[in-house]
């Protein structure tokens, strides 16, 4: 059991840094023919851009700002946010949905900026791509100094004519699904109140700002 847990948790070794780029995704796949090689090239370029920012010059704040811009370009944040909210989108008021999306964006930004140190010295290799149920699955191996290399798959869709990341799969675990369980649990534990989720997100943000 301990041994299996090692395998299980070992898969999440890259989660800290990917948590930033990950989160969730949309229910309906509208993969408008993101071709395999194009998706692989997109992931390669995105990864190189990320590495260049992290290992490049500038203060932590400057790097954080650049990273935020990059993430907005390559990650379908809004779509991921809707997926993570899942079935609760039907019980939430329009105002709550708007607030949720705003918080989701902000949390993502904070997650990224607190991870800058974790990305330091990161290298990655694109292995190839294959068609998945939700879009092109691009396989990569990510290595960090002092850590065993991890196999990570990126799910890429064409959204509005542009390639975007909609999910990250680490050792068989999808980050969008994981985050959805996390958020749903908060709502379910509070009698199905979406407001409880928003409160929890606010608290999380406050913690991140403070820490």
């Amino acid at each position: 059991m301990m041994r299996s847990r090692r395998v299980l948790l070992g898969g999440f070794a890259v989660m800290p840094m990917l948590g930033a780029l990950s989160a969730g995704l949309p229910g309906v796949a509208q993969a408008a023919g993101a071709s395999g090689p194009a998706a692989a090239a997109f992931i390669k370029n995105s990864g190189e851009a990320l590495v260049a920012i992290v290992n490049g010059p500038g203060s932590k704040a400057e790097k954080a700002e650049k990273l935020r811009t990059l993430v907005n370009q390559i990650v379908a944040v809004g779509k991921i946010g809707r997926f993570v909210l899942g079935r609760f989108v039907r019980v939430a008021t329009p105002a709550q949905v708007t607030e949720y999306q705003k918080l989701f964006h902000e949390l993502l930004s904070y997650n990224i900026t607190t991870q800058i140190r974790a990305y330091q010295g990161l290298t990655f290799n694109v292995l190839g791509s294959s068609a998945g149920p939700e879009g092109e699955m691009v396989s990569t191996v990510i290595s960090r100094p002092g850590q065993a290399p991890a196999h990570v798959q990126w799910v890429v869709q064409t959204i509005g004519g542009q390639l975007k990341i909609i999910d990250v799969v680490v050792e068989g675990t999808s980050l969008r699904v994981t985050e959805r369980s996390d958020y749903a649990s908060v709502i379910d534990d509070h009698g199905g109140q979406v407001s409880a989720l928003l409160t929890a997100m606010h608290q999380q943000l406050a913690r991140m700002r403070a820490g």
């Binding site: 041994r3 299996s4 079935r87 369980s181």
Partner: protein
């Protein structure tokens, strides 16, 4: 085996405590959405599970994590990898038995080759020459074997010391104690010392590999307990798929070339070679 025996006894005791602690109250069936959510969570033992989760967290914060940090400071990545390889090799015979019981001949053959090669050429499993030769490790255990038979996972279980599990998957804990080379050796003081130290080293080595990861999940998740539950279930499903995917039928060498090629194509197509 005294240590392992006492752990089992402790587990049984805590299990009783869990039953006494009672189950979570399901929402009324009339509340369709809430009832469905409750069923999806499949976590009726939540009060017990959450108590174990808190227990493990406290244990981790005050004992395991500091030790793992010290261990990480005095070891290199390479050394930790060799420890991982060594522990994995000890696990290989148990996996071989499970693969045979699950009717996965190719996976069983791979496990056997790995154990033979790594125990000899790999100097008792410290190195992994089998992996370099293409015999990659595929994980299995009794829980996954039962899953292959169609046994459902059952309710979620978070166990003291052992962490995330399920009613089906928990069966592998006693099985792991039996399916290890140390269980076949005659009892002796030396063996007990080896068992104690290898168990402890394994736990610390694992924890060291997860230092950044665990604190990060705990920091970013709104409900870390639910997040670990989801990660555990997804990971088990992925392991099951991996076993199936690696159990590729062998095309017999004595078949005529045309028939071999056709059969190989069919196999590749079915198992999506390289994925």
């Amino acid at each position: 085996m005294g240590f392992r025996g006492s752990v089992l006894a402790m587990m049984a005791g805590l299990g009783m405590a869990g039953v006494l602690a009672g189950c979570a109250t399901p929402p009324p069936r009339s509340n369709v959405a809430a009832y469905r959510a409750y069923q999806q969570q499949n976590d009726p033992l939540k009060p017990f599970n959450k108590a174990s989760y808190r227990f493990n967290n406290a244990l981790d914060a005050y004992a395991l994590k500091p030790v793992a940090q010290g261990y990480q400071a005095v070891t290199t990545v390479g050394m930790r990898e060799h420890v991982t390889d060594f522990m994995r090799n000890l696990n290989e015979p148990g996996e071989l038995v499970n693969f045979m019981a699950a009717g996965k001949p190719r996976d069983a053959g791979t496990a056997l080759m790995r154990f033979v090669l790594n125990s000899t050429v790999g100097i008792g499993g410290i190195f992994d020459p089998a992996g370099s030769l293409g015999y990659h490790h595929v994980h299995t255990d009794l829980g996954l074997t039962l899953a292959g038979y169609g046994v459902p996972p059952g309710p979620y279980l978070y166990l003291p010391l052992f962490g995330p599990s399920g009613v089906r998957d928990a069966t592998q804990i006693p099985a792991d104690f039996v399916l290890t080379p140390a269980a076949a050796a005659p009892p002796s003081t030396g063996l007990s010392v080896f068992n104690y130290s290898s168990d402890a080293l394994n736990v610390v080595n694992e924890r060291a590999g997860l230092l950044g990861t665990l604190s990060n999940i705990k920091a970013t998740a709104l409900d870390p307990y639910a997040t670990f539950r989801s990660l555990y279930r997804q990971h088990r499903a992925a392991e099951l798929k991996s076993i199936h995917r690696h159990d590729v039928p062998t095309v017999p060498a004595w078949y005529p070339p045309a028939q071999r090629a056709a059969m190989q194509r069919a196999v590749d197509q079915k198992y999506q070679k390289g994925s």
